[in-house]
């Protein structure tokens, strides 16, 4: 590890030579302060080093692509305990419910949660439900920082890193320490957290345990059951790092997550209430072994082996006679071996390269046959960082992936940064992102008897199932040419980000980024056939052409030495290209839901894709006085109006109506939007030596929307206590 700072400092010298010394002694250089972004002005004693963007430690200011960094002091001030709490307050990140309005996924640059890769210490977290990784599975109790790279990073990370990458960096002990914290609040929600760090001359160990329990909450008390049922989860983690010699470090880490949840609800349909109960269990663990060896001052190699397993089991039964209505189990494995090297040809030429093997498998009753489904990926990547002249940084990379089912993928990316002056920096980045179809899109075998009845079949099993049905004489008619069914291709995006950072005055900084993402072969499900009992059969195809574009911007202001104020805003247009073309041709209509009169839709009246808000933003004030130990914050988070797609039922048996109410099945200005809303969050904390007391309120105005935003609880009041042993408080 001794060498990294050398590279880092060298690069820093080349890029911002004049401030290298200041940076190393930990002071605040004017440019670095600006590069830190506005949120963290008061936590400047922490180095703002990001690893995710290049797979190497780089300062925020030297990265040509849009990056957001949230560090632990800020997370503590916010009072956040789960990852969704942290992400929802960042500009351009929108936490959206999964299917049926449950759960929390992340939308980056208007792209669905499916397209963001989520890592912990560089290793992927698996276990997605209909494409969404549940953010609340991840505690932030033991982390150093959250790094968010927007725009495609498939050139380094391969599949799924299409919209962006979120990497949670866990805390590494630098001294013997033990920290305890407890937070208790509304809904009998208790978060207990312990971290320990032990440091020897050749080794260090960190251990971590978190217990989170809640009674859930009920936004629709008129219905039986709760909006979110009570649950309890544990997260345990540990990492041991051993220095074999001056060149070689071995590190072994593991993480376990287990959650239990009990459900009770009514299934309502046409006036009938069918009382149902059930339980769900999630376990998720991983093991991560890493050996890093410095061959020379210029050359370092790191080998990593990562294995992770995700399992869920759940059942639902009728209360009337305890008969099973649904049983579900899902087991997923992901194993990866990776070898990464970095070589410094010259102080201004650094190459990073790597190769790896991924083996993934799933067994579940959701898929056709209880056979194990597997996918293998081999990959190679190379990235070169070049600093030709002092104000210019060029980073280019390409990754090659060979997938056992989908063949070859090439994902290039080029990023350039130019520092016009110490007050103005331009950045731009162009890249290709991709996502291979997931197991669900390949093997899903779903039959729903309720609501008319339908089948949804994965592309790989559709043909087999169709011929079975045909033999039994169950097919009434086909909606598509059958030869087009059965082959899915990876979804690919082409993306551009162009931005600037400007230091407007000694206390005012401005950050802006324009983005555009084009996906030409988005996977969606479509009807392929109809059965003799009039049930539709759906399967997946690469059919949609969509784009997202917009602006994200942050304005930050430092008031005196204790206050920082920031305003963040994202403008977003996310549209289906086929609909845009149809509206432009004058072939799209809408029917007034009251008068039932039909009119032609004008170009500016098409709003775009569902679940996207055109306007989102935040306004934050942070206060921190290291001397007195007081800190506090006021944060206002705004999400503008958005639409919802297909009609769905929610867990309490209510219907979530579709936004479209004018018979064109697209979202236009005359549809029924979910209204925009603002959340106000407050926190106040006082540190007395190693003891820290905090109180806070999330969603002060108690805003709720039971039908459309069930993942948003009402007002949450909490208090927390934390204290640390041994550790000298870093903040003083």
């Amino acid at each position: 590890m001794a060498f990294e700072p050398v590279i880092f400092a060298t690069l820093m010298k080349n890029i911002f030579g004049q401030i290298k010394v200041l940076l190393i002694v930990g002071s605040v250089a004017p440019f670095i302060a600006m590069a830190q972004g506005t949120d963290t002005l008061h936590f400047q004693q922490l180095e703002e080093v990001i690893i995710t963007a290049t797979r190497n430690e780089r300062t925020m200011g030297s990265l040509p692509m849009p990056v957001t960094l949230v560090q632990t002091p800020m997370i503590k001030t916010m009072g956040s305990v789960r990852l969704n709490d942290v992400l929802t307050e960042q500009t351009g990140l929108v936490v959206v419910p999964q299917i049926n309005g449950q759960g929390n996924g992340i939308q980056i640059q208007g792209l669905n949660p499916d397209y963001t890769l989520i890592l912990v210490d560089g290793e992927p977290i698996i276990g997605r439900y209909t494409g969404t990784l549940e953010l609340s599975r991840l505690t932030v109790g033991n982390i150093k920082q959250v790094e968010i790279v927007k725009g495609p990073s498939s050139s380094l990370y391969g599949s799924e890193a299409l919209a962006g990458v979120i990497n949670i960096i866990t805390e590494k002990p630098s001294t013997n320490t033990a920290k305890f914290s407890m937070r208790y609040g509304t809904n009998n929600t208790l978060d207990l957290n312990t971290t320990g760090g032990f440091v020897g001359s050749k080794w260090n160990v960190s251990v971590f345990a978190n217990r989170y329990s809640t009674d859930g909450y009920d936004l629709s008390p008129q219905n039986y059951g709760k909006t979110v049922s009570p649950f309890l989860n544990y997260t345990l983690g540990s990492r041991v790092e051993y220095k074999l010699n001056n060149q070689t470090i071995l590190s072994i880490g593991g993480r376990y997550f287990g959650e239990n949840q009990d459900y009770s609800f009514d299934v309502n349909n046409k006036g009938n209430s069918i009382r149902t109960y059930g339980a769900g269990k999630i376990t998720d663990w991983n093991l991560n072994t890493m050996l890093s060896h410095r061959i020379s001052n210029r050359f370092k190699l790191t080998g990593r082996f990562y294995v992770t397993n995700y399992e869920t089991d759940s059942y639902f039964k009728l209360e009337r006679n305890d008969s099973l209505t649904k049983q579900d189990n899902y087991r997923q494995w992901f194993k990866r071996f990776e070898l990464v090297g970095d070589y410094q040809f010259a102080p201004n030429h650094i190459t990073t390269f790597g190769t790896g093997l991924i083996d993934e498998s799933v067994v579940t009753n959701r898929y056709f046959g209880l056979t194990e489904r597997t996918l293998q990926t081999k990959y190679l990547f190379i990235q070169h960082e070049w600093n030709p002249i002092s104000p210019l940084i060029v980073i280019g990379g390409i990754r090659y992936d060979n997938n056992s089912k989908f063949g070859d993928q090439f994902s290039p990316k080029l990023s350039v940064q130019y520092e016009v002056s110490s007050k103005l920096v331009f950045k731009s980045s162009f890249g290709v992102g991709f996502k291979t179809p997931d197991f669900r899109q390949l093997y899903y075998n779903f039959y729903n008897a309720a609501g008319g009845g339908y089948n949804l079949w994965g592309s790989e099993i559709a043909n087999e199932r169709i011929s079975e049905f045909q033999k039994l004489g169950l097919i009434q008619s086909y909606s598509v040419d059958l030869s087009t069914i059965g082959t899915l291709e990876p979804e690919r995006s082409l993306s551009i980000n162009i931005g600037a950072k400007a230091k407007l005055s000694s206390f005012l900084s401005w950050d802006v980024n324009l983005f555009r993402n084009n996906i030409d072969n988005l996977i969606d499900y479509l009807p392929i056939a109809l059965t003799t009992s009039r049930e539709t059969i759906y399967s997946f195809r690469n059919i949609k052409k969509v784009f997202t574009q917009g602006i994200e911007t942050d304005l930050g202001c430092r008031l005196g030495s204790n206050f920082s104020v920031s305003i963040g805003y994202q403008l977003l247009f996310a549209k289906d290209q086929a609909v845009v073309d149809k509206v432009d041709r004058g072939d799209e209509y809408w029917r007034d839901p009251i008068t039932l009169q039909t009119q032609r839709l004008k170009s500016n009246e098409y709003f775009g894709l569902y679940n996207r808000s055109r306007h989102t933003g935040n306004f934050k004030v942070f206060y921190k006085n290291a001397k007195s130990g007081w800190e506090g914050s006021v944060r206002v988070i705004y999400r503008g109006k958005f639409g919802v797609g297909d009609v769905q039922g929610n867990i309490q048996g209510e219907i979530i109506p579709a936004s479209d109410q004018n018979d064109n099945l697209i979202l236009d200005e005359y549809d029924n939007f979910v209204p925009g809303y603002a959340l106000v969050n407050l926190s106040l904390a006082k540190s007395i030596q190693s003891l820290r007391l905090q109180i806070g309120v999330d969603n002060l105005l108690d805003y709720t929307n039971p039908i459309f935003i069930p993942n948003l609880p009402g007002r949450l009041i909490y208090g927390s206590v934390s204290f640390s042993l041994f550790e000298k408080s870093k903040n003083q």
């Binding site: 309502n268 309720a450 609501g451 039932l596 109506p657 004018n662 099945l665 005359y670």
Partner: protein
Amino acid sequence: MKCVLSIVCLFYFSMFISCSKSDPAPTPVTAIRFSNLPADPATSFDPNTGAPTGFTNKFTFFSFATGAVVDSPSGTNWDLAFRATTILVNGGTSGAGKGAAQILTGIFDDVANAPTDGYKQDNDAGGLSPAAAPNTNLAIPTGSGNAWYVATGGGPSSPSVITATAGKVIVLKTADGKYAKMEILSYYKDAPAPVNPLRDIARYYTFQYVYQPDGSTRLK
């Protein structure tokens, strides 16, 4: 939004009124709305799943000349027959009349004259049998996106909804060869918007039509 909507509607109606005033029509034909024509709706629901049951598989017959449901259909005393999403014309394989149809894309009021050609008759021997298949051999084809409706939902986690697509105008020849145009406005009882498939009862047609009794193609 309601405000914008009502302004738009107001504007729309004032246009319509001023147009009809300046037009010296000899015998005005008027648009008539027919609500809640039952097309074999469910008579009961499964107590466990809520799935609709108790279908009779019978068609409901309609005549443009009388503007009413025909109770004892025979010969040419009916023009259209409705059952679920299937609509038959009284012609071809479905009936003894001259019934035929074609689907236009546009705005109902803008269709001033019926086209003189392009009509299709039903050509499906099994058309009147109980388990009618969605097919494109009918003058008004069935199947999602084929003519006047799109079936959505019925996919992951959502019950199926039949949406009568805005901007689809069905131009018809009646059983006795007269012209008419119709626009289907809703497939659900009392034309709710948006449709709640767990509450709203399907297979009830609301439509508007203009019938030209004088045999000409003029539909406005």
